[in-house]
């Protein structure tokens, strides 16, 4: 039973981690929280659904195409919406919540009811130790691993990745060494949309997809980010995994009624006890 709960929790934890990464990427750069993040995850799931139903893409190309489309969408929405909201954090929060509602209701028009997702990751049951689970879980965990490694490599070893980190550290000074900061911010939104949308495709086949699936996942991914330190990528990943595993264990051993409580108890405890998160650092206030 423990193995089963642990692996199930690890898989949902991966999803929280990846969606949470979107919060972290944007926060590191703008010191602002994009509350549309969960709904981008939802939109990604539906984007995957629509594509998978029309063209029968294998899993990997599907993930890639959804990631690419979401990336482009993130860049476009940055230009059309987010760029107008940066000047003020409150405006940004309300604006991003509004954008989330627009995304959610936009999808609702076409999909008012929960729908099953095509089994793009195969439907075989895998056995590891005492745990039996669908192949899809393995995809979630492996894809997350690959995604995290790719992101890390991009940030560490590429010129663009370095520039994105420099903008996150000090946007003004980055501009004075020649970085196009507006473009860097747009790229950051593109990346945060891409990872969230990929997470949507990964989770889709394991559950039904519905227009409101982004609410809870968004809040839990946010908790994951706060838990680990919202400006820390490793922290957010750790936070996602911890929340995913703990809530699944709580759901299994105590009662599934309390499952959702876990993430928010963790969030509250963290906000009170250590607002910078487990691996986060205080970021100096920008003048």
């Amino acid at each position: 039973m423990f193995d089963q709960l642990f692996i199930g929790g690890l898989a949902t934890g991966c999803v929280y981690a990846v969606v949470g990464l979107g919060f972290t990427l944007v926060y590191r750069t703008l010191r602002m929280v994009n509350f549309a993040q969960g709904h981008v995850f939802m939109a990604g799931a539906f984007l995957g659904l629509v594509i998978a139903e029309r063209v029968h893409l294998p899993a990997l190309p599907l993930l890639f195409v959804v990631g690419a489309v979401a990336f482009a969408l993130g860049m476009v929405l940055e230009r059309l919406v987010f760029r107008r909201l940066y000047h003020n954090h409150e405006v940004f929060i309300v604006g991003s919540i509004g954008l989330g509602i627009v995304l959610m209701n936009g999808v609702r028009v076409f999909f008012p009811e929960p729908v099953p997702f095509p089994k793009v990751f195969g439907s075989e049951v895998v056995q590891i130790g005492a745990a039996r689970f669908q192949e899809g879980y393995l995809w979630v965990v492996l894809s997350t691993l690959v995604l995290v490694v790719l992101l890390h490599a991009m940030f560490t070893y590429t010129r663009t990745g370095r520039a994105l980190r420099a903008v996150a550290a000090d946007a003004e000074i980055a501009a004075t060494v020649g970085v196009d900061v507006k473009r860097a911010i747009a790229l950051t939104f593109g990346l945060s949309f891409a990872v969230a949308a990929i997470a949507g495709v990964l989770i889709g086949p394991l559950y039904f997809v519905s227009f409101d699936m982004g609410d809870m996942v968004g809040l839990k991914a946010f908790s994951a980010a706060v838990f680990g330190g919202i400006n820390s990528i490793p922290g957010t990943i750790l936070g996602g995994l911890v929340i995913g595993v703990l809530e699944n264990l709580a759901g299994g051993y105590i009662s599934s009624a309390y499952k959702d409580l876990v993430a928010f108890v963790i969030l509250l405890v963290m906000l009170i006890w250590r607002p910078t998160g487990l691996l986060g650092r205080e970021t100096p206030v920008k003048v």
């Binding site: 370095r162 420099a166 550290a169 003004e172 000074i173 501009a175 004075t176 060494v177 020649g178 196009d180």
Partner: protein
């Protein structure tokens, strides 16, 4: 001042530069000139407007009036990244290294606009030659460096691109006297290589050690301008304009 410097064309100049912060008129019609190979000091007490001038030169604070020329090209109105591409390099007040990045990554950011990898490595070697301490620490996270090392890194980051003009805002601020000495020794070497420097400092006696010319600022206006030698040698002048 060596005569060839007097004859050389200005690399950077402003005419009637103004900066406003709301109603605060922080820079009031400042005209200055930095010629090729020259070290120009911008002197003045805290709040005199040094940083405002420098920030408007590099494009971080908009000028509310006047012009800025780099060579013969008008650059006010251009963004910071374009000015940087045109050859301006900036060492900000308070150093502002990219704290999460390693020393090496900070320097690579300075060379962000250089595309040729061999050239970049060669320029890094030059900087490590000037600041051997940075070479030893090239893998260290910049935030963990001491203040003096961060200042070296900020200067190195500005130099890697071989700029046309190097603009420094109070490089001695908050540093121990020994460290200030090290920094200024290096600036001297940089000057000897023919680099053009604009240097803002509160401590006139430090800046005048390497400056060819100086502008003295008071509440946003240039109140005195001369070659550095006369300011150095004339205590009465120093007394009346710099209070030191």
């Amino acid at each position: 001042m060596p005569p060839e410097k007097a004859l050389s064309r200005p690399v950077l100049s402003t005419s009637d530069l103004n900066v406003h912060y709301g109603k605060v008129h922080a820079v009031q019609g400042v005209s200055l000139e930095v010629r090729a190979g020259e070290v120009v000091a911008l002197l003045g007490a805290n709040g005199a407007g040094k940083s405002s001038i420098i920030r408007s030169l590099v494009g971080l604070t908009p000028a509310s009036g006047g012009r800025i020329l780099l060579r013969d090209r008008r650059i006010d109105g251009l963004s910071s990244e374009v000015r940087s591409a045109l050859g301006m390099a900036y060492v900000p007040e308070g150093r502002r290294v990219f704290g999460d990045l390693t020393v090496r990554d900070n320097l690579l950011m300075g060379a962000y606009l250089v595309k040729d990898r061999a050239k970049i490595e060669q320029q890094l070697e030059e900087v490590f030659g000037l600041f051997p301490g940075l070479r030893e620490r090239h893998r260290q996270i910049a935030a963990t460096l001491s203040g003096g090392e961060q200042q070296m890194l900020a200067i190195g980051r500005a130099l890697v691109r071989e700029p046309e003009v190097l603009i420094l805002d109070e490089p001695s601020l908050g540093l121990a006297p020994v460290m200030i000495k090290v920094i200024y020794e290096t600036l001297k070497r940089i000057r000897e290589r023919g680099m053009t420097l604009l240097l803002a400092e509160q401590s006139a006696h430090i800046a005048l050690k390497i400056a060819d010319r100086a502008y003295v600022l008071e509440t946003g206006r240039v109140t005195y301008e001369s070659d550095a030698a006369s300011l150095r040698s004339d205590p009465a002048l120093r007394e009346s304009y710099l209070g030191a």
